[in-house]
């Protein structure tokens, strides 16, 4: 992020089944659909639980903590003027087979490593709160 504000972002739609996910950060919480029957996280959102097929799924908050499963530093300027940024695959603490493709912030390119504990932080664009992740203070592993 620069003094002139957040970087240019391509944005998701918020009028569909995933709308709750993209607007969830308004109160600082990351939410996923959970199955009310077996507690499985359903991501990306779907009309039923993939484990038990229950139709009773609803958005519920998670801790916002996770672990870096993989990462890359993108150098190619796909968008004119874009700075190199860390794209990461973050495994969600409550259910590590659920992952988010995201960006890491507050960490140098050469400090990132697989297994690094991270926590969510949101970047607002209009009604969208993009979930980004930053290192957990004192959480190096």
């Amino acid at each position: 992020m620069t003094a002139s504000g957040p970087p240019f972002r391509l944005l998701p739609r918020t009028d569909g089944d995933s709308g709750f996910f993209w607007t969830s950060g308004a109160d600082g919480l990351l939410r996923f659909l959970h199955c009310d029957a077996c507690r499985t996280i359903v991501h990306p959102p779907a009309p039923c639980c993939p484990a038990c097929l229950s139709p009773d799924v609803a958005p519920r908050p998670v801790s916002g903590r996770g672990t870096v499963h993989s990462f890359t530093v993108n150098h190619q300027q796909w968008i004119p003027g874009a700075e190199p940024s860390v794209v990461a695959l973050v495994a969600i603490e409550e259910q590590p087979d659920v992952r988010l493709t995201t960006n890491l912030v507050g960490v140098g390119d050469d400090e990132v490593h697989i297994g690094m504990p991270v926590e969510v932080t949101f970047e607002q664009h209009e009604e969208v709160y993009l979930p980004l992740f930053r290192p957990v203070p004192g959480g190096s592993r």
Binding site: F8, R9, L10, L11, P12, R13, T14, G16, S18, W22, H43, P44, H69, S70, F71, T72, V73, N74, H75, Q76, Q77, W78, I79, A82, S85, V87, L89, D97, V98, R99, L100, T101, T102, N103, D109, I114, H125, E126, V128, L130, L132
Partner: protein, 403 residues
């Protein structure tokens, strides 16, 4: 292998054809396709009146940027084909889907000779500008278009190209298996060595390991030479019923088995094993349909839209164990033209050009026919493995020389 003979074995590739291949040719996709199609039909010893089936990947509505090629109705009409069966589409076991559906069509008697093609004009479409991401050159905030479907999960984070998604695979392989950039570089160097013997290849000048390691990073750990070369070109095949195989002017290439499985999640970022993704399943299902074994393969044409994918395929098809492709390619001798498993003998997509999967099929047939010229693998290769796709998209095929 199950008791019943796989139906794909009733199909052969009876003819192959390729258009002019190059950078910024400025020719239309239909023009290139007609050139490749007529070459393939003639190569099969047929005329257009014999062609009663037509198939392509990815078909109508598959996007711009020179990616999709002409939809099948345009090719049918240009050649005034009278068809008993036709198909085009992008969902299935990778670019290979159109060839596999064609095999099933001839096995089922829906058609006897199916023309299958894949055409790209990405080089002309990209012009003199930089390489484009997917949806990466427009849209976004401020009232621009918004994204849904899979792209909503990646584009907002600047992961706008498959190179970003596959860099995650490469990094994970470094972590789990100790893959090195020098090992990965062997895929690029091998491709360039072979491309120097392929007059139609895009990049033919020598590439050293020093050049490779010094190249600019695109998305770490992948550099410029880990990415394939956009080009213009069309590749066409004729898939015929095996009954026709004794009559082909060139040796027919028998389809021995196809690999089509997708048992993990169909997703770039939710697949259970990020070091393999769908190639694992397509590779496993290929060997479930044949008595041939990886050790029987004489030449391997493995998708290298990014270098890391060829490494993934080497393991997925059982040429080495899981995580062992780095040591397998170390030094490059094993995968060279005269090595134990010659790999990407026309230069692959990294140096030969991004013909999007079909270049590998074309080259596998040339090698089995003994017509690969200066880059012909010695010893009369009889079995070729071909793999297409990366990430959650994968298809594989085993071809043998019919006679």
């Amino acid at each position: 292998m199950s008791a019943a003979e796989p139906l794909e074995r009733r199909a052969v590739i009876s003819g192959i054809g390729q258009s002019q291949v190059g950078r910024r040719l400025g020719r239309s996709d239909l023009d290139l396709t007609v050139q490749a199609a007529l070459a393939a039909v003639a190569d099969a010893g047929l005329t257009r009146d014999d062609i009663d089936g037509l198939a392509t990947y990815p078909g109508m509505g598959a996007g711009g940027g020179g990616f999709a090629g002409p939809p099948s109705p345009d090719v049918q009409d240009a050649l005034r084909l009278r068809l008993n069966w036709h198909d085009g589409g992008g969902e299935g076991p990778g670019q290979m889907r159109s060839v596999i559906t064609a095999c099933l069509a001839v096995a089922a008697g829906l058609a006897r000779h199916v023309l299958v093609y894949r055409t790209v004009t990405e080089s002309t479409a990209q012009g003199s500008g930089g390489r484009q991401g997917i949806g990466g050159s427009g849209g976004g905030g401020g009232g621009g278009p918004r994204f849904s479907g899979f792209l909503q999960w990646t584009l907002p984070f600047g992961a706008v190209s498959a190179v970003n998604w596959l860099a995650l695979v490469a990094q994970r392989r470094i972590h789990e298996f100790g893959l090195t950039r020098t090992q990965l570089g062997q895929i690029a160097l091998n491709g360039r060595r072979n491309a120097s013997l392929n007059p139609a290849a895009i990049y033919r000048e020598p590439l050293s390991m020093e050049d490779y390691l010094a190249a600019r990073t695109i998305s770490s750990p992948l550099c410029l030479f880990d990415c394939d070369a956009p080009c213009d070109g069309s590749t066409a095949l004729v898939v015929s019923h095996v009954d026709y195989a004794p009559d082909t002017p060139h040796p027919a290439c028998q389809v021995d088995a196809v690999g089509t499985a997708l048992r993990g999640r169909p997703s770039w970022d939710q697949f259970d094993d990020m070091t393999t993704m769908a190639a694992r399943d397509a590779g496993a299902s290929l060997w479930e349909r044949t008595d041939l074994r990886p050790g029987d393969v004489d030449v391997a044409e493995l998708y290298d839209g990014f270098s890391i994918l060829a490494m993934v395929w080497l393991e997925a098809l059982g040429f080495c164990g899981r995580g062992e492709s780095g040591p397998f390619v170390e030094g490059g001798r094993r995968i060279a033209l005269d090595g134990e498993l010659p790999l990407n003998t026309a230069g692959g997509q990294l140096s030969g050009g991004r013909l999007h999967g079909f270049g590998f099929l074309h080259e596998a047939c040339l090698q089995l026919r003994g017509e690969a010229g200066e880059r012909q693998v010695p010893g009369n290769p009889e079995v070729a493995a071909v793999a297409n796709g990366g990430g959650p998209i994968a298809g594989a095929m085993l071809l043998t020389r019919f006679r």
